[in-house]
């Protein structure tokens, strides 16, 4: 489903560059639920951005489905994001002046879906998240958990093949975190690949597979918490 080969990414600095990803090799199959862990600065968010086509990479190759994602234009990137990917963010990233319904329907607006169908599908998705009674609420009128449910509904509205979640429970209390993870597991159970960046071990424990990054290389890649041989080339050096 999703394959990275030798991905390298660095950011320009005054007087040089800062390497952030150092030759990442990674395969994620359709329907997997994967946690990416690592300390601050390990490159996990950069990896998620590369996976989400929000950021480019310097070296290597990235295949999503059967499509090579190397050297995409911004327009092509936007198209593939819209077609394959859904995003869930720690800070929810709902548009403040739009209602829950409008936020959920927004990705369909960019897919040029007709208004009536957009609203119908958005309402159905909110219903699945148990949020249909909050459809006309603005984000400021919702709790943290409710906002994240709306954000997940928005991520799912385009029927993506992959959900990319960046610290989805980072701003939530433990009860709400549990509820949100429950929702994400249900999403995964429907066959959608879910990739979660987290620093919380108990969140990672709820995923099928955990990848741990350190200093831009994968140092662990295991299922249900077991530690497996490092897969990144940089890890063995």
């Amino acid at each position: 489903m999703l394959a990275l080969r030798g991905i390298e990414k660095s950011y320009p600095l005054a007087g040089g560059t800062l390497p952030v990803l150092k030759g990442i090799d990674l395969n994620i199959d359709q329907g997997e639920m994967v946690a990416i862990m690592g300390s601050s600065g390990s490159g996990k968010s950069t990896l998620l951005n590369v996976l989400g086509l929000l950021d480019g990479f310097d070296e290597g190759s990235y295949t999503l489905g059967d499509v090579d994602m190397s050297g995409l234009s911004e327009k092509q990137g936007a198209r593939y994001r819209s077609r394959f990917l859904g995003f869930v963010f720690q800070s929810f990233n709902l548009i403040a002046f739009k209602t829950a319904l409008e936020n959920v329907a927004l990705p369909l607006f960019y897919q040029k879906v007709a208004r009536r169908e957009r609203q119908q599908r958005a309402m159905e998705m909110l219903g699945k998240m148990g949020m249909d009674d909050r459809a006309d609420y603005l984000p400021s009128e919702l709790s943290g958990g409710q906002k994240q449910r709306v954000a997940i509904a928005r991520a799912l509205i385009t029927s993506p093949r992959v959900i990319l979640a960046d610290e989805p429970t980072g701003a939530l209390d433990s009860t709400t975190s549990h509820e949100v993870m429950q929702v994400l597991r249900e999403v995964n159970a429907s066959g959608i690949t879910v990739i979660i960046v987290t620093h919380e071990a108990d969140i990672a424990a709820q995923c099928d597979r955990t990848i741990r990054l350190h200093d831009g290389v994968i140092i662990e890649d295991g299922r249900s918490g077991e530690v497996v041989e490092p897969t990144a080339r940089g890890a063995s050096t």
């Binding site: 989400g52 950021d55 995003f87 548009i95």
Partner: protein, 422 residues
């Protein structure tokens, strides 16, 4: 590229109403600019209308010429000879000119602006009495309120008929009395009234016109023994012919016909309404242009204000734009959105300014129509062509205002936008 469906309109309205005070303040500059353009152009038009109305009843391509004393000797004639022209000269001129549509001979009893006692029973008055031809109203339009103007039959048969001005009727006839068919006496000659007219235009000339009487040129010559002498010529310049060129060519023709030295500057006098109109037209075109220019500068200031506000708005909305990009918005859609917002705000403000400007012109026009006095100012208005021009300028400026913020918005990388605060 940028269809405006309900969704996009909703998006635009949401963005504008999110910060209404800012939207209002930024729109104010554009609205004020448009308002100023409408008011100044409308006022210039009002002034033009007033001046043209006061220019009287002459049509814009009319020209007048008369003979005087020569200032140069020529063909055996001494200088100082008083040149006279007659009806044969007029026919010759009409046959030989390439610049004129119509040449009307005219003569006035007692000379130019000479008045004569006209009698009707015990009533009398001092009026201008003209000898003219049937085509004369083409040069000097008038409203025939009763009967008719002179016709070819009157000229051919040297009928003793006259057409009198409205003021002449007021003085010589009782209120409500029928004038048509009645007779008046001009220097002892009896003329039957066949028409009554009111002059077109306003001002002193129009008042003089109302106190005039027209009789057939041929009858005038016979009744007052002028032997076909012509006082002056009233002429119409052909369409598309330059007034100055027509005036000079006509004078040269007259000089050649009347044996006047070609370089004699004095023997032929002339006055061209067309030239006056051209000068006035030039002046008013200049005024319109200056109004548009200064109004456009005011508008530009407003548009720069909107650009500035949009740039601030883009900075504040960096995160929102990042979210939109992550949700699948292409750069083109972001471009459309930013330019659309700017266009929406600018055009809305411009239209409000335009409506208020036109409304004020209508109010002033209503006041003037109701008898209000504003001197030479008359019927201020703005024509559709100018409105269209202003709208095009506004549209161009609105796109200009949106381009810079849109470029700024596109320069923001999605990942950087999502990282930003706000």
């Amino acid at each position: 590229m940028m269809g405006l469906d309900r969704d996009r309109l909703t998006e635009l309205v949401q963005v504008v109403v999110r910060n209404p005070l800012r939207a209002f303040l930024s729109a104010l500059g554009v609205g004020w600019g448009l308002f100023m353009i409408i008011i100044t152009v409308g006022a210039a038009q009002g002034l033009e209308n007033g001046v043209k109305a006061d220019m009287g009843s002459d049509v814009s391509n009319s020209m007048f010429a008369w003979t005087m004393s020569t200032s140069l000797p020529y063909k055996g004639y001494q200088r100082g000879r008083y040149v006279e022209m007659d009806i044969d000269d007029v026919h010759w001129l009409q046959a030989n000119t390439q610049h004129l549509d119509l040449v009307c001979p005219e003569i006035q009893l007692g000379g130019y602006r000479g008045t004569n006692n006209v009698l009707r029973g015990k009533q009398s008055g001092a009026f201008d009495v003209h000898g003219a031809i049937a085509e004369y109203p083409e040069v000097k339009p008038m409203n025939i309120t009763e009967g008719r103007f002179l016709n070819e039959g009157d000229l051919d048969q040297e009928r003793k008929v006259c057409v009198i001005g409205s003021r002449v009727k007021e003085i010589l006839f009782e209120l409500g009395e029928e004038a048509l068919g009645e007779t008046i006496q001009i220097q002892g000659v009896i003329f039957r009234v066949v028409g009554v007219y009111t002059p077109k235009g306003n001002g002193e000339d129009a008042q003089n016109e109302a106190e005039s009487i027209y009789i057939p040129f041929s009858t005038f010559a016979k009744s007052f023994n002028t032997r076909g002498r012509v006082g002056w010529l009233s002429m119409l310049i052909k369409d598309g012919v330059d007034a100055e060129e027509a005036e000079e060519a006509t004078k040269q023709l007259m000089k050649s016909r009347l044996s006047i030295h070609p370089d004699d500057p004095r023997a032929i006098g002339s006055w061209s309404m067309a030239e006056e109109f051209q000068k006035a037209e030039l002046l008013f075109s200049g005024m319109r242009l200056i109004s548009l220019l200064f109004g456009s500068l005011a508008l530009l200031a407003g548009v720069i204000g909107i650009t500035n506000i949009m740039l601030i708005s883009i900075k504040e909305r960096t995160k929102e734009l990042g979210i939109r990009r992550s949700l699948g918005a292409t750069p083109t859609r972001i471009l459309q959105q930013i330019i659309g917002e700017t266009l929406f705000l600018t055009l809305l403000a411009g239209l409000v300014g335009m409506v208020l400007g036109v409304g004020l012109l209508e109010v002033v026009d209503g006041y003037l129509e109701g008898g209000g006095d504003a001197g030479v100012f008359r019927h201020p208005e703005i024509d559709f062509g100018t409105v269209l021009t202003v709208l095009c300028i506004l549209l161009g400026m609105a796109i200009f205002a949106g381009v810079l913020p849109a470029i700024r918005a596109l320069a923001i990388k999605p990942v950087e936008a999502l990282r930003s605060e706000g």
